[in-house]
Symmetry: C2
Subunit: 304 residues, 2 copies
């Protein structure tokens, strides 16, 4: 047996864990049986059982480490999830040390968007570069920044909060207290909210429905995706002007609507960034899909 | 004699050079006698003479290296100034190797705003941190990013172009091809342009004049500084959300108007950044004034 690590993704409605080899091969994968709504102890037990199963299967002595990707703000120093929309039961609980204690192993905690960016950097669309920014376009917008091959965390572990960057100064209000955050103008939630505002559907309308309308020629639906493209273009341009990194990746469910928003996004980003217009900087789709966070979490023990 | 290095600042209308000790003490300083308008050969000769004078004075054998800060886009790999508004004569000329050849020494080239940020990090307002962002508010707006104690350069040396970040999506047009760049809403040039637009003065009006009017209660002048504060607040908030660095410094001539724009800037940045509102992140004035670029250039040989 060769060295492997275990990654855990707490990002959805239940957890997933995977054993991944040093060269990025997925060796084995398990899904938790517990819904996050069942509470903290159930989640912790689920996580420990999943990891233990993989560890027994692939050999305790070959395990390089355990990485856990969680949604929300992480306090890296203390190993605590400070703020977590999905799993309130884990907020302000010393999850890193508790899991480490139960397993007798070292655990690394990371924000799930950061973990996903790290996964893409390792074996995905970013495998040829050391520096990239990744945007995950889902119900919200998450950001992950990889600088010099490592996650840029910031002093409180709050770096890469790109979804809450202002792109429309007096735009839609956001739960974070700001208005005009990019995630209020370019996420799935913002697309459906605007569609309802324009009378395109009721509370059951999905971003996919709006996309289908846009492709069928509905001008209101097209305007929504154009607004999404403009908002993302402003964000991309400012990221390019700030970092001058070679690669900017887009991931998440909204990537399915690429052809409806990307042309506007690229044109807007070029207009707003001299560097983007005059260099070989790339904006691309991510490659690993839902696996990015899991793979990136597994890479954490090797990226420190 | 102890080790020292020589920094050169090409930022103004003529060059300055300084010998600086390893602990940041200014040992000696010279100013060039040539105006940049006299052309390339005159500038190069001036630079070489200035450096040679300092080197003879403080000992060839103790010289750690030579750093040169220049305005404009630098191609770090080739040691070339790609684009320079102030000194067109030096564009696309291999200045690093030419100076190095004439002096028989190793030369490091850096963008002047980056050099200034490095100077503040070394012995200025950023001496207690390893990560900071600095904005220089002058006729334009320059940016410098220090990450892990070193300049963040990007893949083309174009990182930190913060003056051209969009803060007003359909705002004032900019020479870079964009509109609503922060330097078109918060630089000295933008303040005087708006003052003329509002009939507060003619082509001779200065940012200082507008500041004096604002302090005397003129509501138009006050609105100009409020707009400046809002634009800078949007920029600061997005930088904080992106980096989560502990320190953001403001420098340059416009800092003299701090009390006219900073209260709005801070309020706007807090409104637009959850991290800024809830952590101990600092926004402060830089400390080294005009010397920052010179001192930072001198630090370049030690920061590699």
């Amino acid at each position: 047996m060769s060295p492997y690590s275990i990654g855990v993704d707490l990002g959805g409605t239940n957890l997933r864990a995977a054993a991944v080899s040093r060269d990025g091969k997925m060796l084995g994968k398990v899904s938790g049986r517990t819904q996050f709504s069942e509470g903290r102890e159930a989640i912790l037990r689920d996580m420990v059982e999943g990891i233990e199963g993989l560890r027994e299967q692939f050999g305790v002595e070959h395990l390089a480490g355990i990485g856990i990707g969680v949604p929300g703000f992480i306090s890296i120093k203390e190993g605590i999830i400070r703020n977590c929309n999905n799993i309130a039961a884990l907020e302000n609980f010393p999850i890193r040390d508790e899991i480490g204690h139960r397993l007798g192993a070292t655990v690394i905690l990371e924000n799930d968007a950061n973990a996903a960016a790290l996964g893409e950097k390792w074996i995905g669309a970013g495998r040829h570069v050391d520096d990239l920014v990744m945007l995950t376009l889902g119900t919200g917008i998450g950001g992950g920044i990889i600088a010099g091959g490592r996650v840029l965390r910031g002093v409180h572990g709050m770096a890469g909060e790109l979804g809450h960057i202002t792109v429309v100064p007096y735009g839609n209000p956001c739960g974070c207290g700001n208005q005009g955050c990019v995630e209020k103008h370019a996420s799935a939630t913002s697309v459906t909210a605007q569609a309802r505002m324009l009378g395109l559907g009721d509370e059951n309308i999905t971003a996919r429905d709006v996309y289908d309308m846009a492709k069928a020629g509905n001008p209101k639906a097209q305007a929504i995706f154009q607004g999404m493209g403009e908002a993302l273009g402003i964000l991309l341009a400012l990221l390019i002007n700030t970092f001058d990194f070679p690669l900017y990746l887009l991931a998440g469910g909204m990537i399915a609507g690429w052809d409806a928003f990307a042309p506007t996004m690229i044109a807007e980003a070029k207009r707003r960034s001299f560097s983007f217009r005059t260099t070989d900087i790339s904006v691309e789709k991510a490659e690993l899909g839902n696996e990015a966070g899991l793979i990136g979490a597994a890479y954490l023990p090797w990226s420190e």
